[in-house]
């Protein structure tokens, strides 16, 4: 797979990554590389370790062994908030937003300024912040709901809001965990449109089950099975891989 490996800089290099929960290896000796501006989709059956891989990259779970290099920086030794500052953004599977705050405040908190205690105390809602929040709100179809409490949004709108919260961070690597799960058909179409717009100029790592959606956006697909890579390559190649058909696509 890596025969043609040239000494070029990857955005993200995951090497020999292993995590073991009481002896169960959720991710086992996993290696993969993501290029600048690449859209990579991770697919695989339930329990394959897809979400765990994202957890490891963003620091939510600590690796047992192996390395994750992002722009040459070792992420496995960094704290979650430091990983965010190097440019990694993560969207969770269930919409993770602040119900008691308004849409505006949700986006404002994610604006990458004043992240220290003192910075947050002295943070002012200036024109730059307001413009950026309005800009992002328009992108995520929530422009006219800015001053609504977030708990009043629909499930799909909550998903968009969380995507917007990531967008305002402007990460170099965006990790999305099932961004269209639980959405209606029309919401799904709008989300695909939204994702296609925001994946420009950044690398994206997506976990998704919706094969049509995967085909639409993926540059490259990684198939995980029992914590290991089963197959990797273009959608076309993966789809025709007999191993993949057997464990995942076949049924």
């Amino acid at each position: 797979m890596l025969v043609g490996h040239q000494p070029k800089e990857f955005l993200l290099a995951v090497e020999a990554l292993t995590v073991s929960f009481d002896g169960f290896k959720a991710v086992n000796d996993l290696s993969f590389y993501v290029d600048e501006n690449e859209i990579r989709v991770i697919i695989g059956p339930n329990g394959a370790g897809k979400t765990t891989v994202l957890d490891l990259i963003c620091g939510k779970t600590k690796a047992t062994s192996g390395s994750i290099q992002f722009r040459g920086k070792e992420l496995t030794r960094m704290k979650e908030n430091e990983i965010v500052k190097t440019g990694v953004g993560r969207k969770f599977q269930n919409p993770s937003i602040y119900d008691d705050l308004t849409v505006f405040e949700n986006l404002e908190i994610s604006y990458p300024r004043g992240r220290s205690v003192f910075g947050a105390l002295t943070f002012t809602r200036d024109a730059a912040v307001r413009d950026r929040v309005h800009e992002v709100a328009e992108m995520i179809f929530l422009k006219d709901r800015l001053h609504m409490n977030a708990d009043l949004l629909s499930h799909g709108q909550k998903q968009w809001l969380e995507i917007g919260m990531l967008l305002i961070q402007d990460p170099d690597l965006l990790m999305l965990d099932e961004p269209v799960a639980g959405m209606s058909v029309s919401e799904r179409a709008k989300t695909a449109e939204l994702l296609n717009r925001i994946i420009k100029n950044r690398s994206v790592l997506v976990i998704e089950h919706d094969m049509k959606f995967v085909e639409d956006i993926a540059h490259k697909v990684t198939v995980l099975h029992q914590g290991q890579i089963l197959s990797e390559g273009t959608m076309e190649k993966v789809k025709n891989d007999p191993k993949v058909v057997e464990v995942y696509l076949g049924h």
């Binding site: 963003c58 939510k60 704290k79 979650e80 908030n81 965010v84 500052k85 953004g89 993560r90 969770f92 993770s96 937003i97 602040y98 119900d99 008691d100 705050l101 405040e105 949700n106 404002e108 908190i109 994610s110 990458p112 004043g114 992240r115 220290s116 205690v117 947050a120 105390l121 002295t122 943070f123 809602r125 969380e162 919260m165 961070q169």
Partner: protein, 380 residues
């Protein structure tokens, strides 16, 4: 935006109403004894105010605020005690010039950590910094290791218990179970007569409003919103690039410093300090004040403190055995029926009626002009 960094219009009205109540109404209607009692209640309002930030906004329940109240109170009391223990005042002791309880415990020289408390400047700094640093140490040890919720509450309770045992056990240094009594003057000014009590009451109210302003500032800053966000989705805040532990430490330290100011005010207004204000029971009482007033309301916490303290004084005189059960029952009732306390009842039931009343009054005289259509809410 017309809102400033401290309050919006309705909050300003609330603060002014409280100011009139504390500065004009109470001093005019109460005698000095009762006013001094209010001063004592208000010392707990500082603690309740801190708990609004720490528990209400940050979701960090501390059952050990008495520790910080005590640290602040003891710092103040140590200064006052030293002043009361001048050589002339204590010449009948075997070692004149040291506090009486040290003499009773066969201590012959002032311990080293007492010496700086001869200075009022040092004392004032210590009142804020000692509890602040102590809270920072506890906060760092707990929050950096992601200890939170119930576990944190239990640990703070243990700290309160340890603190009480320490103070009671080290009788020669702390005055033991009796505490520090017979505090007399502050820089030569007698704090015991009635006119001094009145001055101290107003001084305390002034300090309370400074703390209210600080709390309002924190609440309206982005930090205030981050605390709310953290209470709900800690991970999301963490993965938005914030160090959650640092924000929790900040909230806990602010609450500790407010509590300490309250403790210092207690020593001044009540004239003594003892371990009975440090332990588990007073710490939990302070949480109940906040819960009754409304843990999300800065002003509600103050009214809650006054109300529960007043009830405590009147009921515990009549039914001493029943009071603790009553307090516990009150806490359970408030949490189950009115999770946002008095402030919640006010916001849900009273405020809408007042708004409607004002709106209907307003719409009558300017009923024919266009301006009322422009700024009035559409009628239902």
């Amino acid at each position: 935006m017309t809102d400033n960094r401290f309050f919006n219009r309705s909050e300003l009205i609330g603060i002014l109403v409280l100011a009139v109540f504390l500065v004009v109404v109470l001093p005019l209607t109460l005698d000095v004894f009762r006013l001094n009692l209010v001063a004592k209640y208000l010392t707990y309002a500082f603690v309740a105010l801190g708990l609004v930030i720490c528990w209400g906004y940050g979701g960090i329940l501390s059952l050990g605020q008495g520790v910080f109240f005590g640290l602040g109170g003891y710092c103040m009391a140590m200064f006052l005690k030293l002043e009361a223990s001048s050589v002339e005042n204590t010449k009948i002791q075997s070692t004149p010039g040291i506090p009486d309880f040290m003499d009773w415990n066969q201590i012959t020289a002032l311990p080293f950590f007492w010496k700086p408390f001869n200075s009022l400047t040092f004392t004032i700094a210590a009142i804020i910094l000692v509890p602040g640093i102590f809270a920072w140490i506890i906060g760092t040890a707990m929050f950096k290791r992601r200890v939170g919720g119930t576990y944190f509450a239990i640990i703070t309770q243990a700290v309160a218990a340890i603190m009480t045992i320490l103070i009671v056990g080290q009788q020669g240094y702390t005055g033991g179970i009796n505490g520090m009594t017979d505090l007399r003057t502050l820089k030569g000014w007698d704090i015991r007569p009635d006119h001094a009590k009145i001055v101290l009451y107003f001084f305390e109210v002034g300090c309370l409003f400074v703390c209210i302003m600080i709390a309002q500032f924190v609440r309206h800053s982005k930090l205030g919103r981050i605390l709310v966000a953290m209470r709900e989705k800690e991970d999301r805040v963490r993965f938005s690039g914030y160090s959650v532990a640092n924000f929790k430490i900040f909230a806990f330290c602010i609450a500790a410093m407010f509590a300490a100011i309250g403790g210092a005010m207690f020593a001044l207004n009540v004239g003594f300090m003892s371990p009975s204000f440090v332990g588990i029971v007073p710490s939990i009482e302070m949480v109940i004040y906040t819960a009754v007033g409304g843990r999300l309301s800065i002003l509600g916490a103050i009214y809650g403190t006054l109300l529960v303290s007043f009830a405590k004084t009147s009921l515990s005189e009549t039914f001493p055995e029943l009071w603790l059960f009553g307090l516990g029952g009150l806490f359970i009732a408030v949490v189950l029926a009115f999770p946002n306390g008095l402030a919640g009842i006010w916001g849900d039931y009273v405020q809408p009626r007042i708004d409607r009343l004002i709106a209907s009054r307003k719409s009558k005289p300017d009923g024919w002009t266009d301006s009322s259509v422009a700024d009035g809410a559409p009628a239902e």
